[in-house]
């Protein structure tokens, strides 16, 4: 170990960023996840982020883990410890390390890194594994576990925790426990025998994670769909939404199989493309099953035609859009919030869609389940809009909850008995004056209730019409329904922090960075009021918050400030009040970025006001 001279080595407990640099497809993912899970098991808030290429094997991939005792779990920036296992990316990986930080690398092949302001820790992982394992595959694979073992000694990770994680991971393949433990000890013993430890950065058991779980938003949403009563899923593989459909399948296979017969109480169909995926989900919903599809940006473009049909023919549908970097194929493995407008107004003609925005996996679960009620109640597509950061990375969140007394709300659906009592059924008659009409499922009644679902203009009895007044009346009623929707969708979460504060509007995965930024701004004596938007259409609370602020920063992860546009368009809000604060590199937004932008503009604002007063 070379000790640095010029800069003091970083010293921290439970507060650092560690970045693993690996080769894609080398089996590093499970070792890295084990490291993150070990932090979680020690009760320390942790946020792992997988930064991966759109590639299967060979290209550089990174796994960045922020450990933060205070629970700030947005991306932080900077690297305190780099575990560099990929010579392809050495130069970038080493350059990123903060002065005073640490570099751990595979010193089987020694290097000179030209950094005298960091501590370089050399462990010959390849050599150790070659000496200890015969199987070439194991030799390569166990390097990963070995560096976790080394870190356990360097950072004082509880050994018992890692041991337990290994035995849990290989519960079904117990023969693999022993070699994994051997690899773990290989790295750990090397440190204990050859190096000075611990380093300045350490971890220590904490109690910050009571009632918390660690899960990705996609898996949470897939589980939420199971709880929300989805029986049909049709999907087409696309990063970063694939794991959502897979999450649904995983839990459905576990909890949705008839015990007596072994038959499935669900169906999941991998479609031939996104058009078919949404078409199937629409067909199933039309027939009264709760059905959904999951996709990402390009899929939204492809699904737009069908979305117009579902909107106009008033067919319930749940669509998960796990956003990625756009436009076009864009950055499939990077995160953005750039489909807001594409979703809100998807399809040609006058269309508007219900969107709900979860901000962590707990809300992914809750909103997934709720989306099926909303879709059935409103008889329209409901988008659950998340993104890659929250969808594919494991996030710490509150435990899931479920009320067993809660009954699904299937909306206005007429039974055979209902139809028997009716004189005159019209599919699109606005009987209750809320814009929502009564559906019938095919096969309900021998003589009554059948109608023709169509994307062509239709009258209240679902008959084709080219009468412009009738069509205009339908479009107007759909707006009435949209207003009804604003009373049913999740309300914003508002936090008022002082008089004359500026407002901050945000949504989705920006949440952790915002909450950290709020505290940092407070230290600079800038108070911000927060509004986390959780749905579109916007409800009254949203307009009230906006009315109560003369300047509001709309923080979002896209170039065009799309949520701001949506608010201005829908509420006639002056552009001067809503100030764009955008980040769109594809990396998750950071608190430091938000703080610098808001404080700079707030200082300008205050000097401007003071000048006016004088």
């Amino acid at each position: 170990m070379h000790n640095l001279k010029k800069v003091e080595s970083i010293s921290a407990v439970n507060n650092f960023v560690i970045k693993f640099a690996n080769v894609n497809g080398s089996g590093s993912a499970s070792a890295n996840q084990m490291f993150a899970k070990a932090m979680f098991r020690m009760g320390i808030p942790v946020s792992p982020k997988n930064i991966f290429p759109s590639n299967i094997q060979g290209l550089p991939t990174w796994f960045e883990v922020r450990v933060n005792e205070d629970g700030y779990l947005g991306s932080r920036g900077g690297v305190d410890i780099a575990v560099a296992m990929n010579p392809q990316s050495y130069s970038k990986d080493v350059e990123e390390i903060s002065p005073g930080g640490f570099l751990l690398y595979d010193s089987t092949w020694k290097r000179n890194f030209n950094r005298d302001d960091i501590t370089i820790i050399e462990i010959p992982f390849t050599q150790l594994c070659v000496e200890s394992f015969k199987n070439p595959k194991q030799r390569a694979l166990f390097k990963n576990i070995a560096y976790v073992g080394a870190l356990s000694a360097l950072l004082e990770i509880e050994y018992k925790v890692l041991e337990t994680l290994i035995s849990e991971q290989f519960e079904k393949k117990p023969s693999l426990i022993e070699p994994n433990l051997k690899a773990l000890n290989l790295g750990r013993d090397y440190v204990l025998e050859n190096l000075s430890f611990p380093i300045g950065i350490t971890v220590s058991r904490s109690d910050k994670l009571e009632n918390k779980i660690l899960i990705s938003g996609n898996e949470a949403a897939g589980l939420g769909a199971v709880y929300g009563g989805a029986t049909f899923c049709s999907w087409y593989p696309i990063t970063p939404s694939t794991s959502l459909a897979e999450g649904f399948e995983k839990y459905a296979k576990k909890y949705r199989v008839e015990k007596e017969t072994g038959k499935n109480l669900f169906a999941s169909v991998q479609a031939e493309d996104e058009l078919a995926a949404i078409g199937m989900a629409i067909g199933a919903n039309w027939n009264g099953a709760r059905a959904f599809t999951a996709t990402s940006g390009p899929g939204i473009s492809l699904m737009s035609e069908f979305l117009g049909l579902a909107y106009f023919a008033e067919i319930p549908l749940v669509l998960f859009n796990v956003q990625r970097g756009g436009p076009s194929t864009g950055m499939p493995t990077r995160t953005q919030q750039s489909d807001v407008l594409a979703c809100a107004y998807a399809s040609h003609g006058d269309t508007k869609h219900v969107l709900i925005f979860p901000s962590d996996p707990k809300e992914c679960f809750d909103f997934a389940a709720k989306a099926f009620d909303l879709a059935d109640q409103l008889q329209t597509p409901v988008f659950v809009v998340s993104d890659l950061d929250m969808g594919m990375n494991d996030w710490v969140c509150d435990k899931f909850e479920w009320d067993d007394k809660y009954l699904f709300n299937k909306g206005k659906v007429l039974s055979k008995d209902d139809l028997d009592e009716m004189e005159n059924y019209g599919r699109y008659l606005d009987v209750d004056n809320d814009g929502i009409c009564y559906r019938t499922y095919p096969g309900t009644h021998p003589e009554k209730g059948a109608f023709f679902t169509r994307g062509t203009s239709h009258d209240e009895f679902a008959n084709y019409t080219e009468n412009g007044d009738i069509n205009a009346a339908t479009l107007t009623r759909l707006m009435k329904k949209f207003r009804t929707a604003s009373e049913l969708v999740p309300e914003p979460i508002i936090e008022i922090n002082g008089k004359d504060s500026c407002g901050v509007i945000f949504y989705g995965s920006t949440s952790p960075a915002i909450h950290e930024a709020k505290d940092l701004l407070k230290e600079k004596e800038i108070n911000v009021d927060l509004m986390q938007i959780r749905s579109f259409p916007f409800n009254l609370d949203v307009w009230e918050f906006i009315a109560n602020h003369d300047r509001i920063y709309v923080v979002e992860q896209n170039r065009d400030s799309q949520m701001r546009t949506l608010i201005m368009a829908e509420g006639g809000i002056s552009p001067e009040i809503l100030r764009p604060l955008v980040h769109f590199t594809g990396d998750p937004i950071q608190a430091s970025f938000i703080v610098s932008k808001i404080s700079e503009r707030e200082v300008n604002y205050k000097s401007h006001i003071n000048a006016k007063k004088r």
């Binding site: 994670l209 709880y227 067909g283 199933a284 039309w286 027939n287 096969g443 021998p446 059948a450 023709f452």
Partner: protein
């Protein structure tokens, strides 16, 4: 032309086992051109449902876009209908079928809908073996946009304006056999005697049943240089034989010479009996059938009748190992795992 159908039925109209008349299976008045082949197909569908004692409300009619896709409005008024988007009926039918396995799915499409914009969905519905009747009302032209060529139009055929068709046709029936459809027939809208038993057989078949029905477009593709005109088809039509539908429990009455007749078992126990015109043809052997079709094509014939049938294949519902109860009828307590399971899941995640 009449626009309103009288509500009262003649008291002496023939009734089926359900006590229904053919009128009970009708739909709205057609807005297609007078003489359109599609209307004859609608009439044959009505006749088939009447003969099979089908309860209309247990049928779901689905279509895409085009003249053909308007047709479901003109039969089975008591059935729910779904006029979807262009070429996308197969996906809607697939989802609907998964949601409620108990209905009869009747898809009506055209050659533009299925051979061009929707060919991908058409192919994959067959590949998945969706349990449905898929009727293509094939007229070789885009009628609703006034007579452009469709992908099933023959190479030497001209359009109404005298333009040559530059591309070879896609033969959807051949393609369907190659893709593994388990019931494939071709027929002609003008030949009700052949068409009705074929529709009835398709309705009783389990799995994907394709009916490629040549249905002349009287307005845009019924001229002398067309190969999809009434005259051309009447002249070149060669049936593989005479098909009879034999209801469950009834005996086959006619006896044929050995080697000339084939029986096809249907899902409900009924049968199709085929009196073949050629010993080399075998509708139970996909390879032989395809060869025979190719030979007849070379001879310039349009081969019609039951081309291929396999009553043993699994449908999508079976492949997905789905429960007997339609998914849309499962109670909440069966599909929501509840709070106790969620506690276990939480434990696994912490």
């Amino acid at each position: 032309m009449t626009f309103i159908k009288p509500l009262n039925h003649h008291p002496k109209l023939e009734k089926n086992n359900l006590g229904l008349t053919r009128r009970d299976y009708e739909g709205a008045v057609s807005s297609l051109c007078a003489g359109c082949g599609h209307d004859s197909i609608s009439a044959s569908i009505i006749e088939s449902c009447f003969n099979l004692n089908i309860e209309s409300y247990k049928v779901a009619k689905l279509s895409g876009i085009g003249c053909s896709s308007k047709a479901p409005a003109y039969f089975l008024n008591q059935s729910h209908g779904f006029n979807s988007v262009h070429g996308r009926m197969p996906s809607v039918a697939t989802g609907a079928n998964c949601a409620n396995r108990d209905l009869l799915y009747l898809g009506v499409s055209g050659d533009g809908d299925s051979a061009s914009i929707g060919i991908g969905q058409f192919i994959h519905a067959i590949r998945r073996q969706v349990n449905m009747v898929y009727i293509i009302e094939n007229n070789g032209t885009y009628g609703l946009t006034k007579g452009q060529f469709s992908a099933t139009n023959d190479l030497d055929s001209k359009n109404k304006y005298g333009d040559d068709n530059l591309f070879k046709p896609i033969d959807l029936a051949t393609m369907a056999i190659q893709l593994g459809a388990t019931y494939v027939a071709r027929s002609f809208s003008g030949d009700r005697e052949q068409l009705i038993p074929l529709i009835m057989g398709a309705m009783q078949h389990k799995g994907f049943a394709l009916l490629d029905i040549i249905s002349p477009c009287v307005t845009f593709n019924n001229h002398a240089a067309s190969t999809k005109s009434y005259d051309y088809i009447r002249e070149h039509n060669e049936a593989v034989g005479k098909t009879d539908f034999v209801p469950l429990g009834e005996e086959i009455k006619t006896s044929y010479d050995e080697g000339t007749s084939v029986e096809v078992n249907l899902h409900d126990g009924s049968k199709l009996s085929l009196e073949k015109t050629d010993k080399n043809f075998d509708p139970c052997d996909a390879g032989k059938s395809l060869n025979f079709m190719r030979e007849k094509e070379k001879e310039g014939k349009v081969l019609t009748g039951l081309l291929y049938a396999d009553s043993t294949a699994k449908d999508l519902i079976e492949t997905l190992n789905m429960t007997e109860t339609p998914l849309n009828q499962l109670d909440q307590d069966l599909i929501c795992p509840g709070s106790k399971i969620l506690d276990l899941i939480n434990k696994d995640l912490s």
